[in-house]
């Protein structure tokens, strides 16, 4: 049995902390890029102390997306959720796993239980099972009555489930494409330098967990690298639509600083681009 302690917490989020689009040279004022929002945050047992959402080895920024939750096929999960937002109800709705309707985390008036509408200050425990068909990466997100505002503000995260005997990768990169305010973001940030800087070494087994949230389609593209589809076909760009997700992996063999981005040009121009640094062994 795996236990995770997660809360929805209010915070102030800056989409462009360095204030610029490093490639085009445009500058942005905090008034254009900072907004109040609510995010998922990992906590210690009984929500005593906040923790980082992602391991430092993989990502160097925090808060959006929510905690990267891990499980193996066959695991039972207990996700203990607390709504620390004083202003709105929230919930957690998980893709990819097995559960009874009471743990669905979505709001159906007259049908869903407390789990679909966790009021300010209240808690709920979601009971989930990782079945044989759960291996992969999946999104989770708010599905309460306030979901439309909170999804636009970053109240989502990723669930990464490995097969029973599957090896852990050396690096796991969570990459979430989502529109936010007037920007197109990766993990809630826009433009190179602000978006996650992923790092690996030659020889590492790297795994990218790629997700899309929102209303648009995106195409995930990494420079200087290729991976294979389940049918064995090599590719370097893959499309995904709202709430779709996939994982790709390879053994790293290409040192250098590379770009990764959404290849929808308008999205790239509005910030959906970042850098990936591979150091020699």
């Amino acid at each position: 049995m795996r236990h995770e302690w997660v809360a929805a917490v209010p915070t102030t989020w800056n989409i462009v902390p360095n204030g610029r689009d490093g490639i085009m040279g445009d500058t942005y004022e905090p008034a254009q890029t900072v907004f109040p929002t609510v995010v998922y945050r990992r906590f210690t047992k009984r929500w005593r102390r906040p923790l980082r959402n992602a391991p430092v080895a993989s990502v160097d920024h925090d808060m959006i997306p929510g905690p990267l939750l891990h499980a193996r096929v066959g695991d039972r999960l207990r996700i203990h959720f607390k709504n620390k937002d004083p202003n709105a109800p929230h919930s957690m709705h998980f893709h990819g796993v097995h559960y009874r309707p009471g743990s669905d985390g979505s709001y159906i008036p007259g049908f869903s239980g407390r789990g679909g509408n966790v009021k300010p200050g209240q808690t709920f425990t979601y009971k989930l099972d990782a079945g044989p068909d759960s291996a992969g990466v999946w999104p989770y997100h708010d599905h309460s009555p306030s979901m439309h505002e909170s999804l636009a503000g970053g109240l989502w995260g990723a669930l990464s489930i490995r097969g029973r005997h599957e090896r852990r990768p050396d690096r796991e990169f969570v990459t979430v494409f989502a529109a936010m305010q007037d920007f197109q973001t990766i993990n809630g940030r826009a433009f190179v330098g602000n978006t996650p800087i992923y790092r690996a070494r030659v020889g590492d087994r790297v795994q990218w967990d790629v997700l899309a949230i929102g209303d648009e389609h995106h195409t995930f593209h990494v420079h200087g690298h290729r991976w294979r589809t389940p049918a064995g076909v090599p590719e370097d760009t893959r499309t995904l639509g709202p709430a779709e997700s996939f994982r790709v992996s390879w053994r790293e063999d290409a040192p250098g600083t590379w770009l990764y981005h959404c290849h929808v040009e308008q999205h790239m121009a509005k910030g959906m681009i970042g850098i990936y640094q591979v150091s020699p062994r």
Binding site: G19, M24, A31, G193, I197
Partner: protein, 287 residues
């Protein structure tokens, strides 16, 4: 208004005529950058197509239509008269911009300054501008506060940039300035006075890979939000690495690992943790 306490260190105007300049606008995939641009009468605006798409520039009120221009090419237009000229790319919906053409241009510090700071203002004036005066908005209208002149002694080699006049003013509070001549006024320049305290920064030698950075503020300002920023190549600018609040003694301590040789600074910020109110000097972390 006396509270402005605006002093001037200015010489007589001997306006060397401004050279007309070429000012560049980048035509991106779906936007012009900068979107709004102020130029001097007679300046040439050059639109460079830095995207992979074909664009055009139509400024109806200026009677200018560039025609289509391809990626990596450029078009230009000289604006001979003052006014505000909106323009559009008719090929791409929502791709708009605006050129303001003025008889004078006034430049300043571009970031908030400490109260009472000496601030250098620069005026670009065309040939035959005549006497130029810098005025400040006192709250009861604009009043002259400085007469700008050629740079005193010029640069290190005595070189004076032609057509640029300079004046130093003391800014006690956030104030709007403009430059005025017989032919009109420059756009308004707002000089923000930061509400943040002055910060002093010390970095200890690294021990076991960790380095302590102490920041102290004057005047005393406990509770003020401070952010430690690193200037990192891969961040393409200043990056907020850690945040803290000043304690009762107006002191905060940051611990950082590694980053030898990297420039660091501490800024005080507003409630959004992003709007900079004041900043320390820049320190380069010794190896």
């Amino acid at each position: 208004m006396r509270a402005l306490a605006t002093a001037l260190l200015a010489l007589l105007v001997l306006a060397a005529p401004a050279q007309a300049e070429s000012i560049f606008v980048s035509a991106g995939t779906s936007s012009f950058a900068p979107r709004e641009l102020d130029v001097l009468v007679g300046d040439t605006v050059v639109w460079r197509n830095n995207s992979l798409k074909t664009h055009n520039v139509q400024a109806e009120s200026a009677g200018y239509d560039s025609g289509r221009f391809a990626p990596r090419s450029a078009v230009n237009h000289v604006f001979p008269a003052t006014g505000v000229f909106p323009y559009v790319c008719t090929i791409h919906d929502g791709m708009t911009g605006q050129i303001g053409v003025f008889p004078l241009l006034l430049g300043g510090p571009g970031r908030p300054v400490q109260p009472g700071a000496f601030v250098a203002l620069h005026v670009r004036a065309p040939e035959a501008a005549g006497q130029v005066t810098i005025e400040a908005d006192t709250g009861a209208g604009y009043q002259p506060v400085a007469v700008p002149g050629p740079a005193e002694g010029g640069g290190h080699d005595g070189h004076v940039e032609p057509g640029t006049l300079h004046a130093n003013v003391v800014v006690a509070q956030t104030t709007s300035y403009r430059a005025v001549s017989a032919s009109g006024a420059s756009p308004e320049l707002r000089v923000e006075v930061s509400a943040g305290p002055a910060l002093s920064l010390t970095a200890a030698r690294p021990r076991a890979g960790r380095r302590l950075i102490d920041v102290r503020a004057r005047p005393a300002s406990p509770g003020t939000r401070v952010v430690l920023e690193l200037r990192l190549r891969e961040r393409f600018g200043w990056w907020p690495a850690a945040r803290a609040r000043l304690d009762r003694r107006s002191h905060a301590r940051f611990t950082i690992r590694g980053h030898a040789g990297v420039p660091v600074r501490v800024v005080t910020v507003g409630p959004d943790w992003a709007t900079v109110l004041s900043q320390s000097r820049v320190l380069r972390l010794r190896r």
